[in-house]
């Protein structure tokens, strides 16, 4: 018993400084209601994604992402008891589509931004820490990529690789990493000059230890802020590609594709222009709030992580 108390005290002592940091971060977030709104939105989407099988039980057991369709008529049908949000062109169920589309969006966002982060950090670190020829090669590659318009390059890549969601993600990774490499390089150049890095070198630390223990932890925060902002942006780009018909296979639960279905039904018949509002508005709102949520959350991250505002 006494041992337990002692261990607990020891644990508390160890955690105290970290706890203080967390408390400070929370106090920063509390001060801006918009950040809280962003957090709320993202948590909402996360719970939708987790609860998808319960919110909309799949019709095709082994292909949950295939949107069930009710007939083959082209004209969308308005919301009803069987189709909560109505159906879109080809009688795909909008409710099912947007619910499972949330999962797709998270998958796209996290995979793409995660991969970009890894590639960007590795290349940017090499470039920033070693400099010289390595730096030249990597940075000129970055320049080349950044001189091409992102969306068009991504379209070209998807067309070349073949139309499916994996290829969309690959294309987005290929066009997305250069700004990350450049950003982290700049921060590493700054941190590299700090005395504690020099001190680590004087201690005899290896380059690997120096980069990962001393340089990166102090340089990575602007990158994380950018990444959180980019999760939304990447989903938006993927949706744009889907809208252009370069995304998921037809019938796959994906917000971009749902808007693409509704392309011909944005304006209704003469005299009733808003007849098919649900077909485009509902998936559109999902994308809007998803991207908005990440943007607000990114701002919150910036508030928390900005080294200038932190007390160091």
């Amino acid at each position: 018993m006494e041992l337990g108390v002692k261990a607990w005290k020891e644990f508390k002592r160890r955690m105290e400084p970290r706890l203080k940091e967390v408390k400070f971060s929370l106090s920063r977030v509390r001060k801006s209601p918009l950040s809280l709104a962003g957090l709320f939105l993202i948590l909402l989407f996360v719970s939708i994604a987790i609860a998808a099988p319960y919110l909309a039980s799949p019709k095709h057991r082994y292909e949950p992402y295939r949107i069930p369709r009710d007939g083959y008529s082209a004209t969308p049908r308005p919301p009803s008891r069987t189709h909560l949000f109505g159906t879109t062109e080809g009688q795909y169920d909008i409710y099912y589509g947007v619910i499972w589309g949330t999962r797709t969006s998270f998958r796209i966002g996290f995979t793409v931004v995660g991969s970009i982060l890894i590639i960007g950090i590795i290349l940017g670190s090499l470039s920033g820490y070693y400099g010289g020829v390595v730096d030249e090669i990597i940075m000129r590659t970055v320049d080349t990529f950044m001189s091409l318009p992102t969306l068009i390059l991504a379209m070209a890549l998807v067309s070349a690789l073949g139309h499916n969601l994996d290829n969309v993600m690959k294309a987005l990774i290929i066009v997305g990493w250069p700004p990350y490499a450049r950003l982290i390089r700049g921060d590493i150049l700054r941190v590299r000059e700090e005395d504690y890095v020099e001190a680590a070198r004087a201690l005899g630390c290896s380059d690997f230890t120096i980069i990962f223990k001393h340089v990166l932890p102090n340089a990575i925060y602007p990158l994380l802020v950018m990444a959180s902002l980019d999760v939304g942006a990447m989903v938006l780009t993927a949706a744009a590609l889907s809208f252009l018909g370069l995304g998921a296979p037809i019938g796959y639960a994906d917000w971009g594709q749902m808007i693409s279905f509704a392309r011909n039904w944005i304006v209704g018949p003469p005299g009733n222009p808003l007849a098919y509002w649900y077909a485009v508005t509902i998936p559109g709102l999902f994308i809007l709030f998803f991207v908005l949520g990440w943007n607000l959350l990114g701002d919150a991250f910036r508030d928390i992580l900005d080294p200038k505002l932190r007390r160091r």
Partner: protein, 353 residues
């Protein structure tokens, strides 16, 4: 006289290339350290004094091999015979060049790489000027002080923790500080942490790069006293780099005065303050504001600024600001010559006396 020399630097040069144009061509050099000879004896504290931009920090970092020297030798705890042999072989150029290379590879610190360098790093450490930037803000104190032990595989687990606590206690901190971040400490405490980290591997030689310049006077006194205690307790050898002459007078046994990448005067502390010979040293000493209003000293105020080390003046680098510069000063750089009792000066005016 050559007994017990721990660190010796011979004809050391460190140039930084200035690159320009589209193809990053080398268009010039910043001659930060330009031919320095220096011997540091075991157990002494050698003060290295000079104004900003005179290359004193570069010299320190080059000795520590944080920077790769452009030319010259750095010997750490090497016997006199080997140094002389290298010198002899160098003079007789092509013959035996393989032997020379072998000697340099194994004994000259300026050529060390990899494992050999890491092994030596255990024996020499550095304490930086600004303690707020020399500690990684995202590491806990226990990790900062324990890192050298891990890197050199000296201790692990409980033993490591024990040693970290010992080190902290030795520099006047306590076990309570283990789980804290650097920003929770005051400047003086941070400098204590930095000193503890430098002492972790039990080094012989410590470079102190302006360790008290960022601190307040009352804390400065604490740190200086601590450094003095540590020196006598552990038998450390110090190279104390500073621009503050009164501090260096207080702590050093000998003082070297640097100007524009060269050492212009080297003498015993007392001797230097009582009998400064180089005009630069004289000006430097007269410029110190003395904390006593009764003594309003007569000043020699130097005119102009320190020239750029990219294009240093010809001959004696000081002649542009020297009040007694003669014609020969503009032509050749005077060598560091001994004037009795371990007092070395690089000035023609002295030669003629």
């Amino acid at each position: 006289m050559n007994m017990n020399i721990l660190v010796e630097v011979r004809k050391l040069k460190k140039y930084y290339a200035i690159q320009g144009g589209v193809f990053k061509k080398r268009i010039g050099d910043i001659k930060a350290v330009d031919g320095v000879n220096l011997k540091i004896r075991k157990g002494e504290c050698l003060g290295l004094v000079g104004e900003s931009g005179c290359g004193k920090t570069t010299l320190g970092k080059t000795i520590l091999r944080l920077l790769k020297p452009t030319k010259g030798h750095i010997y750490f705890d090497i016997s006199e015979e080997i140094k002389q042999e290298v010198e002899k072989l160098e003079e007789s150029t092509d013959s035996n060049s393989q032997k020379l290379q072998e000697l340099e590879r194994t004994h000259d610190l300026s050529n060390f790489e990899g494992k050999r360098l890491k092994k030596l790093r255990r024996r020499m450490q550095i304490v930086f000027q600004d303690p707020s930037s020399s500690l990684n803000p995202r590491m806990l104190i226990k990790d900062i002080v324990g890192e050298p032990l891990t890197v050199h595989g000296l201790a692990k687990g409980l033993e490591k923790r024990e040693r970290v606590i010992n080190l902290l206690q030795r520099v006047g901190l306590s076990e309570d500080h283990l789980f804290r971040y650097p920003h929770e400490f005051s400047g003086g405490q941070r400098q204590r942490i930095a000193i503890a980290r430098a002492l972790a591997t039990n080094p012989d030689f410590l470079i102190l790069d302006e360790p008290t310049s960022a601190l307040d006077v009352s804390v400065q006194a604490q740190i200086l006293n601590l450094l003095q205690e540590l020196q006598s307790d552990f038998g450390l050898t110090y190279l104390f780099i500073t621009h503050h002459l009164l501090v260096v007078e207080y702590i050093s046994h000998r003082i070297a005065v640097m100007y524009l990448g060269r050492i212009v005067e080297l003498a015993d502390t007392k001797e230097l303050f009582e009998n400064p010979m180089h005009p630069y040293t004289q000006a430097l000493l007269s410029a110190i504001p003395i904390p006593d209003p009764e003594v309003r000293s007569h000043r020699t105020i130097l005119k102009g600024d320190v020239p750029s080390p990219i294009d240093p003046p010809s001959g004696c680098v000081f002649h542009t600001r020297c009040s007694s510069a003669a014609k020969e000063c503009e032509e050749r750089m005077p060598d560091l010559v001994s004037f009795g009792d371990e007092h070395y000066v690089a000035c023609y005016r002295m030669n003629h006396k």
